[in-house]
Symmetry: C2
Subunit: 189 residues, 2 copies
């Protein structure tokens, strides 16, 4: 989406040649004009699919997922919770996710009551880099016997290989913008 590419060029800050900071419209302040347009495109991309619920992971995925749920006709939103504790409630599905930007592993859980066999789940997240969060959320769905309809992200860093790992599991991927590389401290699309 040109809208998102332009916003990244205007406001994004590249840190350590690997991390893109977009605090102005996605990760700290959220621009509803952009996220609502993104959500409409997600609806179009997955228009053939039945979607019962949207699954995301705290924190930055929640606002985007809310907009997507709205565009899909107010389907429920479920956000997986991160915990550093190894003591996990027995009524949850649980997986381990390594954060690319923060370089630590979180135990991520969803309550079994809210993710169930046969449900059609669209997974939404703010970023796709190496795909760790997406694979973890897909794992939670598979544990529940739920069907993963697709994965939608706002910004994909195409050079970090996440898409291929997700598609290899038979899951379709939609990205609002795909960054090919960072060149001279600017993203190219």
């Amino acid at each position: 989406m040109k809208l998102i590419e332009n916003k990244i060029l205007e406001d994004g800050k590249i840190i350590n040649n690997d991390i893109l900071k977009v605090d102005n419209f996605l990760n700290h302040q959220i621009d509803l004009n952009i996220i609502d347009e993104y959500a409409k495109e997600v609806k179009k991309f997955f228009k053939e699919e039945k979607i019962d619920k949207v699954l995301t992971i705290e924190t930055s995925g929640i606002a985007v997922a809310y907009a997507v749920c709205e565009s899909l006709g107010k389907v429920p939103l479920l956000f997986a919770k991160k915990s550093k504790s190894m003591i996990v409630d027995s009524n949850v599905y649980s997986t381990e996710i390594k954060s690319f930007t923060k370089n630590f592993v979180s135990t991520v859980t969803v309550n079994k009551n809210y993710l169930q066999s046969g449900q059609n789940i669209l997974i939404v997240d703010d970023f796709l880099a190496e795909g760790n969060a997406a694979l973890g959320l897909i794992d939670l769905c598979h544990q529940a016997g739920a069907n993963v309809v697709g994965f939608a992200t706002v910004i994909e860093k195409g050079f970090q290989g996440g898409r291929k790992k997700i598609e290899n599991l038979g899951v379709k991927v939609f990205s609002g913008a795909i960054i090919k590389a960072f060149e001279n401290n600017k993203p190219t699309f």
Copy 2:
């Protein structure tokens, strides 16, 4: 709002006689039919006010705040970040907030670029108990020289005194439901 009171009676779970768990529509899974209705009531309650931006705090406030921003005509959403680190970036406003449910203190920050002098800010959060989060967010606004238009919460535990502390600062409070007490393991309104 009857809608929210009924949902609490149907789905809420009281833990330790103090904590209300509403994971079915607010704190883990989010029911857009309820949260969107809530957001319309927030708009009505603050209809005389000019609102430039909505401020909330991660995590459970974000979805509610998104719906409120939408109902106010897509004003920007800013979420304050919790950090356990004492090392704070110089370009942020920072305050300490004690979590009622989790019993620890977080350093909470917003970037100075996104909270500015003269802006009219509506603060939104999922719960109001002792008012610690609200007071911390008001403090951030005051540090910035921003004007706090009001505080909106989905569920207020009226017996924990938060409202009075906020109103004493001259800030109007709107709650979707006010719980008077927990009696025989049931909330009363």
